[in-house]
Amino acid sequence: MTLTPVTPYHYLVLSAALFSIGVVGVMVRRNIIIILMSIELMLNAVNINLAAFSYQLHNAVGQVFAIFIIAVAAAEAAVGLGIILAFFRNKETLNVDDMNTMRW
């Protein structure tokens, strides 16, 4: 059995699949913590893309931007979980369908 050599397209397909799993999580699940985790999955998919192109083009800029994305993801997780805690203290729920007080 011979396997085809791994090209950048393999990494792109892996990244697209992971991103789509994240999209399904955001669309389907109603638990806001799991929605935030799905967003982390999507950010990881983008990072795989950046690393794959960085490897292909022999240029480390992609890795630098991946580090920036990781920093932004950390900030997003901290603020998002803070909002979730504040919301849970007020409403005793994690369901996104109940988070409609500010909806027009």
Partner: protein, 172 residues
């Protein structure tokens, strides 16, 4: 050959753990599958010769962010799981449809760009990597060409830290 085996194994693990993160009912198990997913992604970075990125991934994602998630999951002790509400069948099928459209779009872009020969710009923009370690290259770039974005990112982290503390404070 070995690279292919490692890649396909890692890809299967990443996709499998990703599906488990999205489908598992118990939120604590979700977080644990997320850790496994992040570790597999770190191994993909090693495969792509981005060792520094792999270490950052393990330290920040699997070490920091996931612990944050675990804390919040433990703090909000739910009696009734949010997914048990009624009338979510139609919503979730709409969600699956939208995600399928997204996947079709991404794969269409992939297929069409694969059919075309590599552009001249991509082949030109491949300077010979200086003979240094990966960490050294990334560090030089981070502190010379990308110094201002680096400082902006550190300011963003500071602001996020202050904001998280204010948001999660008891009396608000």
């Amino acid at each position: 050959m070995l690279e292919s085996i490692v890649f396909y194994t890692l890809a299967a693990l990443i996709i499998g753990f990703g599906v488990l993160v999205v489908t598992t009912r118990n939120t604590v198990h979700c977080v644990l599958f997320l850790v496994a997913n992040f570790l597999c992604v770190a191994m993909v970075y090693v495969l792509l010769a981005a060792e520094f990125l792999a270490i950052i991934q393990i330290l920040v994602y699997a070490g920091g962010i996931v612990v944050l998630y675990l804390f919040v999951v433990m703090l909000v002790n739910l009696q009734r799981p949010p997914d048990a509400s009624s009338g979510r069948r139609r919503q979730s099928s709409a969600g699956f449809a939208l995600a399928a459209v997204m996947l079709a779009e991404i794969s269409a872009i992939l297929v069409f760009s694969a059919a075309r020969p590599a552009s001249a710009a991509a082949s030109v923009a491949a300077p010979t990597q200086p003979a240094m370690g990966n960490t050294q290259v990334v560090g030089m770039m981070l502190y010379s060409d990308y110094l201002v974005p680096f400082e902006v990112a550190s300011m963003l982290l500071l602001v996020a830290m202050v904001g998280a503390i204010i948001l999660a404070r008891k009396e608000a």
